[in-house]
């Protein structure tokens, strides 16, 4: 096993982990279905690529700007979620994913179908970051994102979001401004997806609209669900498992995709709360007793 091979997989796992954690803020904490998270992943990637290439801005300035761009458009989706709810919202976010990818694909400004080439690795104090350090940097960002997610869930914001998830009407009645909190959840979640996009663009150095299409959104949702929705460890471990799975299944050659699909079916069928969720058999085995809630809520 080469080091570069493992570094590549590791970096991709980190990027997916940020995506899954950030989606969990929207879907796990606030309970809003989103099947278009890859669109915000793409917005971050394209924003950072264009800012660094066309305007010559450095990575460290472009990254927060790209996050803001993704967060701002995420907030717009938050506004839409005030009007369109439940499964209607879920399918609407699929639509948003398609529309945004189409914008990338059909406008020359975004490179069209050829994508954007020549994106550079970031530099730190004038020195180009090597692949190994890039992985460390991505790991650092996963840590930051996890910390942010933890703070959200422990704070009054987390309590408000949970109230919205459990019963929106009741939350509204008890004086919670649901509209505000929903928009905040979407904005924060999408901003972090934007950061994942930044990391992806500068790692791959070549992006096409295809990299942010709807199937990627589904992959992110699957990571969150397979890991355990609503927890923090769930999305992280789910991303680790699902992003490494295509490589782990490589010895199966021709049957790789078959097993990949089959494993998703089995995991959701027999561990619907997630492999690392509160009721997961893995946790029960590790802890040696019945399910113990590790949820953020004060139960």
């Amino acid at each position: 096993m080469g080091l570069g091979y493992l570094t590549t997989i590791g970096t991709l796992v980190c990027i997916y982990a940020i995506l899954a954690i950030s989606l969990n803020i929207i879907s796990g904490y606030a309970g809003q279905a989103s099947l278009g998270h890859a669109a915000f992943f793409g917005i971050g990637a394209y924003a950072s690529a264009l800012l660094t290439l066309k305007l010559g801005i450095g990575f460290w300035v472009a990254a927060p700007l790209a996050m803001m761009a993704a967060g701002a458009i995420g907030a717009v989706v938050g506004v839409i979620s005030l009007r369109i709810k439940g499964d209607f919202l879920a399918v609407t976010t699929i639509g948003i994913n398609f529309v945004i990818v189409t914008v990338f694909e059909y406008s020359d400004f975004f490179g069209g179908a050829y994508g954007i080439m020549g994106i550079q690795y970031p530099t730190l104090f004038g020195v180009k970051i090597s692949k190994g350090y890039y992985l460390l940097m991505c790991l650092g960002f996963v840590g930051l994102c996890a910390l942010f997610s933890l703070l959200v869930s422990k704070s009054w914001l987390g309590l408000a979001l949970e109230a919205i998830r459990e019963n929106e009407a009741a939350a509204e009645a008890s004086g919670i401004n649901c509209a505000k909190f929903k928009i905040i959840a979407f904005a924060f979640g999408c901003a972090w997806a934007g950061l994942a996009g930044v990391l992806f663009a500068h790692f791959m150095r070549f992006i096409t609209p295809n990299d942010f299409a709807f199937p990627i959104s589904i992959t992110i949702v699957a990571m969150m669900v397979v890991g355990g929705i609503g927890t923090l460890r769930g999305p992280i471990l789910g991303a680790l498992l699902m992003a490494a799975l295509p490589e782990l299944l490589r010895p199966l050659a021709n049957y790789r995709l078959l097993f990949y699909g089959g494993l998703i079916v089995l995991m959701t069928r027999f561990q619907p709360q997630g492999l690392f969720g509160d009721k997961a058999f893995i946790l029960r085995m590790l802890l040696g007793r019945g399910p113990r809630s590790m949820r953020h809520s004060g139960d």
Binding site: G4, Y5, Y114, G115, R205, N254
Partner: protein, 389 residues
């Protein structure tokens, strides 16, 4: 529980193990170690058909070379990895074959964006990478270790425009452009050349890969009544364009690109609607070259159906690597120099005139016409001015 296995048996097993290790292990001479060459192709996922064509062609070639004694006594081992039509997996796979398997060269039997992503890795690791049929213009921008054995989309498009204006002498054309890099680079070359020859483009409509319903656009084109309809579709989409045009009673001459160069995907689906269409490609079915004849016959014999452009191009990409290694050994820089010096090299998909400094090939574009549901020779575009990128 250890009762069943006694000391005696353990000794026997141990001796057997040592013997097996002794036969297969370090005692074999280093010279007989196989030469490893990597192949990446989309074997699962949406482009699995092209991936299989590429893989089968390469496996056939390796069998042939190994049966003939390999390269200077050393066998070739083909390391095949699936990129699943995903640029992330392409990068991972490229790393894996370079570091894990220590391949001396890589071959792409995959699409544009996966190949573009992998090319970067090969360039960085300084391993030669030979590209079969991916047409993205920036693939060879990576650097000197990346080569492409098929002509650029823009060049092939120019050849199509030349054929339209000079050979078919059409005055007006309607274009159906697939909206990816493949379709658009072909279309831009076609348009540039055709308009230069005074052909008027009446309409240019984009469509997405996998589009099935062309009737609305064809109905519009029917009213425009052009002399030629040019499309840059892949097999099934192109077959449906022809079929639906025929259904609407459109009798206009049709032209396509190497995207349609597929027997199973295109000819079988289009059926008699394909009659008379002209395509620009690199595989001449009526070629007199022995290597091409041999490839066409043996592929048909081995796999039971006629091969397509993707298979033939990837075959050539691998064959070039093998020929270079035969000449100069397995050193990466020497292979790259050997590539550059390959003037007049004859492959299944025609003769290579030269490589540009960028690593793009200069070679003829074949024109094939469909007669009685088979591709036949129609002409060849060999004007160097058109063919140099």
């Amino acid at each position: 529980m250890m009762k069943g296995i006694g000391t005696k048996e353990l000794i026997v097993v141990w001796i057997a193990a040592v013997m097996v290790a002794g036969i297969g292990g370090p005692s074999s001479p280093a010279a007989a170690q196989p030469i490893k060459i990597g192949l990446m192709a989309p074997l699962t996922g949406p482009a699995a058909a092209d991936g299989l064509s590429a893989k089968q062609s390469c496996e056939m070639l390796v069998e042939q070379v190994n049966a003939a004694g390999g390269i200077n006594g050393r066998k070739i081992e083909l390391i095949v990895y699936d990129d699943q039509f995903d640029s992330k997996q392409a990068v991972t796979v490229a790393q894996k074959m370079i570091e894990g398997d220590k391949v001396v060269a890589g071959v792409s039997g995959s699409y544009s964006f996966t190949t573009r992503a992998a090319a970067q890795v090969f360039q960085e690791e300084k391993i030669p990478f030979s590209v079969g049929y991916a047409l993205h213009p920036a693939i060879t921008e990576g650097g000197k270790y990346v080569f492409r054995v098929t002509v650029l989309g823009h060049v092939q498009g120019r050849a199509g425009g030349y054929a339209a204006g000079n050979l078919l002498k059409v005055k007006t054309v309607s274009m159906l452009i697939q909206d990816n890099d493949f379709g658009q680079s072909l279309a831009s070359g076609f348009r540039e050349q055709a308009e230069g020859l005074g052909v008027k483009v009446l309409s240019a409509d984009k469509f997405k890969m996998g589009e099935k319903e062309f009737s609305p656009v064809l109905t519009k084109i029917k009213q425009l009544n052009p002399d030629l309809i040019y499309n840059t579709a892949y097999p099934i989409d192109g077959a449906l364009i022809l079929k639906q045009a025929a259904d609407l009673g459109i009798k206009t001459q049709q032209m396509g690109s190497e995207g349609l160069d597929s027997t199973k995907g295109f000819l079988d689906v289009a059926g008699k609607a394909a009659e008379g269409i002209i395509i620009t490609t690199n595989l001449d079915r009526d070629s007199k070259a022995e290597i091409t004849r041999k490839y066409l016959d043996e592929y048909q014999k081995k796999y039971g159906f006629a091969p397509d452009m993707t298979g033939a191009s990837t075959y050539d990409a691998l064959l070039m690597v093998i020929d270079a290694i035969k000449k100069v050994g397995t050193d990466a820089d020497k292979i790259v120099d050997a590539f550059r010096a390959m003037k007049g090299w004859q492959g299944v998909t025609g003769q290579i005139q030269a490589f540009t400094p960028q690593g793009e090939v200069i070679k003829n574009v074949e024109l094939q016409v469909v007669r009685s549901n088979v591709f036949r020779h129609f002409g060849v575009v060999s004007d160097l001015k058109l063919l140099t990128p």
